[in-house]
């Protein structure tokens, strides 16, 4: 058995139930915080998503057995986000069972070095009070980097509406923190993942 982060045993041998409870102790708070950043999320919904993710982890325990704690956390977050955006989907469903990520911790953006955290908190407060559909559009486009057409298809709205929501969200952020943060004049209209790229990557 291998000792991992904060005493977590990386291997899932032995009693499966004990192992998943151990994982719960080490990962659930982080997964909850992640779930709570999803659009229009309340405390109880975030708790339910954590429960759902761990239920899925139990079903997929054989696949997760050899993953590191970081990979398991990233996998749990991916399940959380896929379950939630699946709920928003206008048509069909997306794949709920996530792949185990190879890079669980993305590099920190240099913006953190130059923009005060209080300013970022104000930005987030602004985002949290925006209309629900705008929060979803911003999350899919800006956090998950879906293409505009993909966002439109997923939410059952037009690409022009997606762009309009993004502009409204950007304008609101500029209004709120434009004195402290320098924004690009022109925002790229599209980019991010290609059409064959996996959806619902945990960020």
């Amino acid at each position: 058995m291998t000792a991992g982060t904060d005493g977590y045993e990386e291997t899932l041998d032995g009693d499966d139930e004990q192992q998943i409870i151990q994982l719960y102790h080490h990962a659930s708070q982080e997964v909850f915080k992640y779930a709570f950043t999803l659009p229009n999320m309340n405390h109880y919904q975030a708790q339910d998503l954590v429960q759902t993710a761990f239920e899925e982890a139990w079903r997929q325990r054989d696949r997760l057995r050899k993953s590191s704690l970081g990979q398991k956390k990233a996998w749990l977050k991916t399940v959380v986000v896929r379950r939630e955006i699946d709920r928003w989907r206008a048509t069909g469903t997306c794949d709920l069972v996530a792949e185990i990520p190879e890079q669980p911790s993305p590099a920190r953006d240099p913006i953190h070095e130059v923009v005060h955290r209080e300013v970022l908190r104000r930005c987030w407060e602004e985002m949290r009070v925006m209309p629900e559909v705008r929060q979803r559009v911003a999350f899919l486009r800006w956090a998950l980097e879906w293409k505009t057409a993909e966002v439109a298809d997923h939410l059952g709205i037009t690409a022009a509406t997606v762009r309009w929501h993004l502009k409204q969200a950007r304008d609101r952020l500029v209004e709120a923190v434009g004195a402290e943060v320098s924004f690009l004049e022109e925002e790229a209209d599209d980019g991010g993942f290609g059409p064959d790229a996996p959806r619902g990557r945990a960020t």
């Binding site: 998943i20 719960y24 659930s28 909850f32 915080k33 992640y34 985002m127 924004f183 690009l184």
Partner: protein, 127 residues
Amino acid sequence: MNQNATGHAEQKLSEFPSWPPFRNVNVQDLVALEEIELYANVIIAARESREPFTRGELDYILGVISERPPTPKPRLKQEPFSAAQVYRAARDESERQPPDFDIQEGVARFSSWLSQQDTNSRTESAD
């Protein structure tokens, strides 16, 4: 200095030679006057500052310490950011806040679900 209709002297604030300006006003409560003076000093300093005060700067303005604290290290020159970058950074920052999550309650709920799974699988085996 001008005289008004009642013959009392009027003096513009800017004509007072130095701060505090109201020493010659007939005020008996000197403690209150000191507090007003300190408050006014903070307001004036706030008007002239583009950044929020640090605790040390506020102490200096209020006269708690006699030497002005060193100026905080200037921020790096800010390149413009996309709204997506700002959004992601703000979201990251929100994840850094302490969670309002009762882990014991969560464990109890999840353990209960695990027990139910165990019961279900035993029932299926028996059938």
